[in-house]
Symmetry: C2
Subunit: 363 residues, 2 copies
């Protein structure tokens, strides 16, 4: 598979996702081709690591005559802060961006979330384009969720603001470190678990390492994983129903990330632990067998650690889950699987949850 | 007129505006009656002045068993800051508000804009109810524009987030100081100028002071003025076309406010000067007579000063207008009137604008 195009219907507008080797060198051309407006200026938001690899090529794709500005943030979750948010707004105003200016998010999830929230709220909303440069961002760049963190919780401040275009260049992933592949691949396999067993089996047969990629395999992986996400967010953009299924593995995953302090374990590594826990909870809840071991032993081969870190306690993890923003009135909901590919959102009895957590933590 | 109800269609949902004497004492009942959801908790955001007059009564309208929290901000424009925004978010998280919690903005435009922006972005959006307590807020509480200021410009950061209900108690206006009446009445008369000549004439015949109100007169004034605003925002929520007409008098008005430093002249007092300027510019542009003197001499009787403050220069005002967020590619657009009730958005030649400004400033 040499390239792919998906189309996503958001409430506000429809937008294309282009997956194409080399497309980060044709950003201006692709925007012209796929976005139906003539921006007054372009504002690229990126981070120090990504700018080192790709900013020159992206900028070179624009004619000299076009007003083009850049803002480079510090890499990492700490840049999804109120402080960075205000700084980027200041830069946008200093560059005299107006309501017809376009923001371009060049980077991973942090850049996309922050730049997207700036786009959502600069002068009450300007268009933006996502150019994801990590595997994890294949997930966050689709669906319009943007935002920043608060010290009391991740992604607590944000908006729904769909991009005008997502430009995915698989070649940009080749510079990713192993840990980043693991972080993103958790969401890929999650999409298989909740919605596409045949994709799951294809992954099992085709992915045995995160190096020496065949670009056709990587393109298909991206396309099929994004297709699951796109289908779900189209049906339920504002997360009133089935979009919650994307939270599979995330209830405990977020709690682990938060308890360890963000950045100490990658998002996807925490989500894999959370998915394994959700499988166990599902078997308890529905009383059936889900035969998930084969998938998780492959994940171990890919370098994942499946155990809840020893420093964490069941009490603290439970407390974290109660303040998760997906909680309602402080009761805890979990995405469970009746079968692979059949998710359900279930309100979980706190005592049962505590007992299973206690057993897993003290393993 | 004893009370009134208007219905506004926003893109996201339809919401009612209730104008009714005494309704601030029935907030819980009215929310139950008009909003189709059962909030998990309520979070009232108000300021020190308004809380002094009305918070006790509003809170007393809720049963004791309902989770009800309050956050009181410092009155005034300086509270529409990144700092206050983050503080209110912190309070919301500390009170463990979830996505089904409701925010209640009790106050004037500052409270409404800040609380509305919190509602728009807390966990990517929660419902909110506006309880305007100033005349000016009759304008800002309708139409879903919410936001905060940046030191480089007013309302530069924000969103569109329609309220679930607007509850207007005309009795709450009776504690307003004269200056506040002037600030709000500018928007009332603006609605007459741009869209409703018969309402304009009714105002001319019925409003000769801002004291000793007949509540029927005040209710009709609110209803008719809100009706103009509601009709325009229904047709053009995202300000792609006719909503720009609401900006009549605001291009220069905003520049004057910004140059003087916010808070030194009320919004409406600056807008009245801006409207007079826009009338003069309209006559120059279209070459006809608009006979606006009679309205402005009534405004002088109501205490308005029609002159651009002597400390301001044409150069600085022009520079300000170029960075206004309604500017595109730094060219200046003005709402002009072909006739009273017939607005048009016009791109203005910078030299002509400068010349008229220069004449007005040096009067």
């Amino acid at each position: 598979m040499n390239g792919a195009k998906l189309q996503v219907k958001a409430t506000s507008h429809e937008y294309p996702i282009i997956i194409e080797c080399g497309c980060h060198k044709q950003v201006f051309k692709k925007i012209n081709e796929y976005v139906d407006m003539k921006p007054s200026a372009y504002f690229i938001i990126t981070d120090e690591l990504v700018s080192h690899h790709y900013l020159t090529a992206v900028k070179a794709s624009f004619p000299n005559t076009i007003p083009l500005y850049t803002y480079v943030i510090t890499p990492g979750e700490q840049s999804k802060s109120f402080c960075s948010y205000e700084e980027v707004m200041t830069a946008a105003l200093q560059n005299k961006l107006d309501r017809k200016s376009m923001i371009i998010a060049l980077g991973g999830g942090v850049v996309g979330d922050l730049a997207g929230f700036v786009a959502a709220t600069y002068m009450r909303g300007v268009p933006f384009v996502q150019i994801p440069t990590t595997l994890l961002a294949h997930d966050s760049s689709v669906g319009g969720k943007v935002g920043i963190n608060h010290e009391l919780g991740k992604n607590m401040v944000g908006a729904f603001h769909a991009p005008s275009l997502v430009l995915y260049d698989p070649e940009c992933l080749l510079t990713l470190p192993e840990k980043e592949w693991r972080s993103g691949f958790a969401e890929v396999i999650k999409h298989g678990f909740i919605a596409d067993p045949s994709f799951l089996n294809w992954l099992e047969g085709n992915i045995s390492s995160f190096s020496n990629w065949d670009m056709n395999i990587l393109t298909k992986l991206l396309r099929d994983s994004i297709a699951v996400k796109a289908r779900i967010v189209e049906e339920d953009e504002k997360e009133k129903g089935i979009r919650a299924f994307l939270n599979f593995g995330h209830t405990l995953g977020h709690a682990i990330e938060a308890e360890l302090g963000y950045g100490n374990m990658s998002h996807g590594e925490a989500v894999v632990i959370g998915m394994l826990f959700a499988f166990k909870l599902s078997e308890e809840y529905y009383g059936n067998e889900l035969n998930y071991d084969r998938y998780f032993s492959k994940l171990v081969n890919l370098g994942y650690d499946l155990n809840i870190p020893k420093t964490l306690t069941a009490e603290r993890l439970l407390e974290r889950m109660k303040v998760d923003k997906k909680a309602h009135s402080q009761s805890i909901h979990f995405v469970l699987l009746k079968e692979i590919g059949e998710p359900e959102l279930v309100k979980i009895n706190e005592k049962d949850l505590y007992d299973l957590l206690q057993r897993e933590v003290s393993k």
